[in-house]
């Protein structure tokens, strides 16, 4: 039993050492990394369009993360940094589309469809009820 415990200890210890060798510090400022992580999860990597800036390994994503770090250190607000990226890559860089003339149909289209559907349903039901009354009267 003791041998087993020692063996387990040795194994886990060995793995811990191996992982410690692979992990590299991303930045010396953990608070900044947390902020970067939160922000880059809201941003699209334009090279591999279906992943976020946080998840992407593309060289451009790395460059952009570094650019965001630099701007954060320079005291820029999240909004200023997002604006900086949108000015260069367009609204597409954001995972949450902003409301403007171009995206209005995206925001209001579903509600419009719902209203239309509701109206059609109301008309059909009303007509059926009326037809039903007529039939009932005829019987």
């Amino acid at each position: 039993m003791k041998k087993l415990i020692i063996l387990i200890f040795l194994f886990t210890h060995a793995f811990a050492v191996a992982y410690a060798g692979e992990a590299k510090p991303i930045s010396d400022d953990p608070a900044l990394e947390v902020r970067l992580k939160a922000m880059s999860q809201e941003l699209r990597c334009l090279v591999c369009q279906n992943s976020t800036l946080a998840d992407s390994d593309a060289p451009l994503a790395e460059d952009l993360r570094n650019e965001i770090r630099t701007q954060m250190r320079a005291g820029k607000s999240d909004q200023e940094i997002v604006d900086y990226l949108v000015a260069r890559y367009g609204d597409f860089v954001r995972y949450r589309p902003p409301m403007n003339n171009v995206t209005a149909i995206l925001w209001f289209g579903p509600f419009l469809l719902l209203l239309t559907g509701g109206f059609v349903l109301y008309r059909v039901l009303k007509k059926q009820a009326r037809d039903g009354d007529i039939q009932a009267e005829e019987e």
Binding site: L46, V47, Q49, P59, L60, D63, L64, E67, V86, A87, R88, Y89, G90, D91, F92
Partner: protein, 177 residues
């Protein structure tokens, strides 16, 4: 309302949806419209490839219509468009500068020696900062900049003779080149 007409409404809606989806099949999702088109091209200065100590200042291009072709020696699609760039250079119709994006100077130079140099000047953007300012996300990309320094057109991906004929040449005519 006519009864048969009423039954045709869902079919008509279905066909409209099919129309939109079919159109969607032929759109390229990688081509994201650049917000920079119609806006002033970001001004930059950067070292010129093969001219040690000299720097290119994009502000010096005011008064000229020019193309900025973003490329790299590591980019395979750039090799595809290279022969076309060589043809364009031979016509001497328009000034075209290259931007060696995130490239090693020696490797960029090697490509130009092996395949020919279609560029008036090649500007180096080793750390990709100019690329970020221009919203570059996939090389090759080509920008058409007018005399006032406004980006008039951006093409993402390799240029093709078709793009040149249908997009670039008409714009050049409009801009008096």
């Amino acid at each position: 309302m006519n009864r048969t007409l009423k039954f045709l409404i869902p079919l008509a809606l279905f066909l409209v949806a099919v129309g939109f989806l079919t159109k969607g099949l032929f759109l390229n999702p990688r081509e994201v419209p650049s917000p920079l088109v119609g806006k002033p091209a970001p001004v930059f200065t950067a070292p010129i490839l093969g001219e040690a100590g000299k720097r290119f200042n994009s502000a010096d291009m005011k008064g000229q219509v020019w193309l900025l072709n973003v490329w790299a020696s590591w980019c395979a699609a750039c090799r595809d468009e290279h022969p076309l760039l060589m043809d364009m250079a031979q016509t001497k119709r328009i000034v075209m500068h290259g931007l060696a994006y995130k490239d090693v100077d020696a490797e960029a130079q090697q490509v130009l020696i092996a395949m020919g140099n279609p560029y008036n000047k090649v500007i180096t953007d080793t750390d990709g900062k100019i690329g970020i300012d221009y919203g570059v996300y996939g090389v090759p990309e080509t920008y058409l900049i007018d005399k006032a320094g406004i980006i008039r057109y951006k093409h993402i991906g390799p240029l093709t003779p078709e793009i040149l004929l249908t997009k670039v040449v008409p714009l050049l005519k409009e801009l008096g080149v």
